[in-house]
């Protein structure tokens, strides 16, 4: 492309300017529209006991079982409860996973999520998790009789 050495603004100048303005407008609109983040929380119980002792619980799906099994030592992982919600930025959303356990999720600016694990009304841990990476967030702890609990959170 060869531009003529003219003092009048050519249509290329207007095109560049128009594209810039359009892009800027899109950014402003995108920033002003509240984005809902889908959050899935799964409460999991990990144990070495035989499956028959937890007959009312189903095993977690194979993919999650494989992931947990590669990190943790327990033989079996049972899904206790599963909750899904759409969380709007700036508004905290609470998911109740059991009588004694819930998670409060808040989407923060800068692509962050703040997750509070609440047990018996008390905040056990507050975690700030970057949503820039595809990682699942796992909050976990020891349970009685050499078992463990896991709260697996997925964001998308």
């Amino acid at each position: 492309m060869r531009l003529k050495p003219t003092s009048k603004p050519s249509r290329w100048h207007f095109l560049v300017l128009l594209l810039g303005l359009g892009w800027g407008l899109l950014q402003v609109v995108a920033a002003s529209v509240p984005v809902e983040t889908r959050v899935q929380a799964v409460l999991v119980w990990g144990t070495d006991e035989a499956k028959s002792t937890a007959k009312n619980l189903k095993e977690v799906d194979a993919k999650l079982r494989e992931k947990l099994g590669k990190i943790f030592k327990w033989q079996n992982y049972f899904e206790v409860s599963r909750k899904t919600a759409g969380v709007t930025a700036g508004k905290p959303h609470t998911l109740k996973l059991s009588d004694d356990c819930s998670v409060e999720i808040k989407i923060l600016p800068e692509n962050l999520a703040e997750v509070k694990l609440i047990g018996k009304g008390k905040t056990i841990v507050t975690r700030r998790h970057s949503l820039a990476k595809p990682d699942a967030l796992v909050l976990a702890g020891d349970d009685k009789n050499n078992t463990a609990w896991f709260v697996v959170l997925n964001f998308n």
Binding site: L17, A54, K55, C101, E110, N111, L112
Partner: protein, 165 residues
């Protein structure tokens, strides 16, 4: 300087006294040189007062106005030269504006966070260890309640017989 040149110099009065004496002595002895000197004198005499006057084909004012026009044309060419590179300058202005807009939008949007943004806080009676499994794409926070009384999975759920379902 040969003899002819010396004769011409003598005629023009450009020789010093010694050279003048030498050439004058030569002229008395050498008839050929004397004849040449005589011819040169005649030629000079014919030239003096008879040189053709060269006249300009145009008036003085017109001649100088031509020079002025030439200067002005040169200046115009010099002024036109930056216009040749002005096309990129004209592109530069909207491009700079666009870049500034991008920078402003980046600042407004706050950019994007990295893994460094991950952090956790726990009460005093709770310990926490966090780590990340790159292969399993999992960020794990493992908490240990010193009192050991937190269990989100109730005993009823753990030990419920099949009939309770």
């Amino acid at each position: 300087m040969n003899t002819e040149m010396k004769l011409q110099a003598l005629l023009d009065g450009e020789l010093d006294a010694r050279e003048t004496r030498e050439i004058e002595a030569l002229l008395t002895q050498d008839t050929k040189s004397a004849a040449l000197m005589q011819e040169l004198k005649w030629t000079k005499g014919a030239m003096v007062g008879n040189e053709a006057e060269v006249k300009l084909p145009e008036s003085r004012e017109f001649f100088w106005s031509k020079i002025q026009r030439g200067i002005e044309a040169g200046e115009k060419q010099a002024a036109a030269a930056p216009a040749g590179r002005a096309w990129w300058l004209k592109l530069l202005y909207p491009a700079t504006g666009l870049a500034a807009m991008v920078a402003v939008m980046f600042v407004v949007s706050g950019g994007r966070t990295t893994d460094d943004a991950d952090s956790e806080s726990v009460p005093e009676d709770v310990n926490a260890v966090s780590f990340r499994s790159e292969s399993e794409k999992m960020s794990v926070v493992y908490v240990a309640d010193e009192n050991g009384n937190f269990s989100p999975v109730s005993e009823e759920v753990k030990n419920a017989p099949e009939a309770d379902k």
